[in-house]
Symmetry: C2
Subunit: 275 residues, 2 copies
């Protein structure tokens, strides 16, 4: 290639991905230089690629000169897993209306729980998760539900990995976790107490689909009034059952848009980020 030392073995595709990935962890707009650094690309290459991406609407320039993700990209991406989100949203809303607590729906994406939808009130509580965000499976209630009710290889593979200690309360001992998952299976729901972030607790139940785990729905509750969280169980289980009924006619693969095959993909270190 150019002047002398291109970085061989990097396809254009991977460079474009690297540029988009620079926005994966931040809500801010980024400068060209920041993108260049994050994507590990020469400034001039970044400049040209970003230019093309802006041209096409994948990225956009904001008033202050920064670069952000474009509305076109967002609009295209809205088609991902739409079946599940469109179907589930009213039920997640109901859950919020009935409990008044932050309600969420998550699926497994590799070895993380991926938050698909989330309904919350105007009084903000400190939040560790967000729609599109990921958290470790062992630290959250939805994650524990996913580990407990997925095919056994999921938990087996997961518990081999190093388990991130997010707060002093996070259980990072594989043996203890395995026992806890057993209890989750018996009781039919999972809870956490300040295992992701101090001050918030959570509770979650599974949503099944043709005998397999489909997703998990749960509540995030300020620890201050989280005593007796299981008072929410009837509502949670009722919502789960109604959601199961609403999705039973849709093939699981259509719902999720993915096969969650045995490909536990590599950690990739997304820190919990912002509150």
């Amino acid at each position: 290639m150019a002047g002398g030392s291109s970085q061989p073995g990097r396809s254009v595709t991977s460079k474009i991905l690297a540029i988009l990935a620079a926005f994966e962890t931040t809500r801010r707009s980024l400068s060209l230089t920041e993108i260049s650094a994050a994507a590990d690309l020469p400034l001039s290459t970044t400049h040209r690629l970003v230019g093309e991406l802006v041209e096409s609407g994948m990225l956009s320039r904001s008033a202050n000169g920064g670069i952000q993700l474009g509305l076109r990209l967002w609009a295209i991406a809205q088609n991902t897993g739409r079946q599940l989100r469109d179907t589930a949203r009213p039920y997640v809303q109901d859950l919020f209306s009935l409990t008044g607590e932050t309600s969420q729906l998550a699926i497994r994406d590799g070895n993380m729980s991926l938050y698909i939808d989330r309904v919350y009130g105007t009084k903000r509580i400190a939040r560790a998760s967000r729609v599109g965000g990921r958290l470790p499976l062992h630290a959250t209630a939805v994650g524990k539900v996913i580990l407990a009710f997925s095919e056994s290889w999921v938990a087996d593979a997961y518990l081999e990995l190093p388990l991130q200690q997010m707060t002093a309360h996070t259980r990072s001992n594989p043996k203890q976790l395995r026992e806890e998952l057993e209890r989750v299976r018996e009781k039919g729901y999972a809870t956490t107490n300040e295992e992701v972030r101090l001050g918030t607790s959570s509770i979650a139940v599974p949503v099944f689909h043709t005998g397999r785990l489909g997703c998990s729905i749960g509540l995030v509750i300020p620890t201050s009034h989280a005593a007796n969280m299981d008072r929410f169980l009837p509502v949670l289980q009722g919502t789960s059952r109604r959601l199961e009924a609403a999705t039973v006619h849709i093939p699981l693969e259509t719902l999720l848009g993915i096969v969650s095959g045995p490909d536990m993909n590599v950690p990739e270190e997304e820190s919990p980020e912002e509150g």
Copy 2:
């Protein structure tokens, strides 16, 4: 390039965009051949690029062999306009709780209204819009609000374009529309009656930000009980005012993530699609 007749002048970037754009109008998974046709690329090129995109998580292969948008892409794209969506969501929810009618929030994207958020109940009504979807500005209540309260060049430029006749009720006469926009400005809200789709009507109000139009919020109502729609006005205006208060401290550019500059981009013919 290869064997003989590449299509010169097409950057790799544009090819990747073309592949992603193939998913813009469909929720289905696509076969390689379909993508190849939609993106107007040779099959082998499509094969290689799709392979790379799947590798990186931008696309994913579903169980039946089809190809779909990947969760990674979705998760990255969630950062687009997050500030506005995160802030506004509870207010859109409130609007739904208080009215029981489908509630939505839209902004202008080129010469279309882009639906940013939407809250609806479990009883489905025929719907023409969806989150991430676009509709012509002149046929919807939110669109009319956008035209009426944006800088005057927006409506001026828009009314020069050919106006799509979506139903028998759609007003596609520029002169009539200009008068209607004047009335919208006087009354402070806009309505439609079956102008997008027979059977549904809508009403919308503007949400301002530092004196300029920020976005528009509105309701979609089955025409059967849309008589006296303006009974919803106090709730709509109250919600708008509360949303204005909640966003006033955030710079407009940060909110939208874009400058809606004088670049009225070309129609691009997205049909209303599915109900």
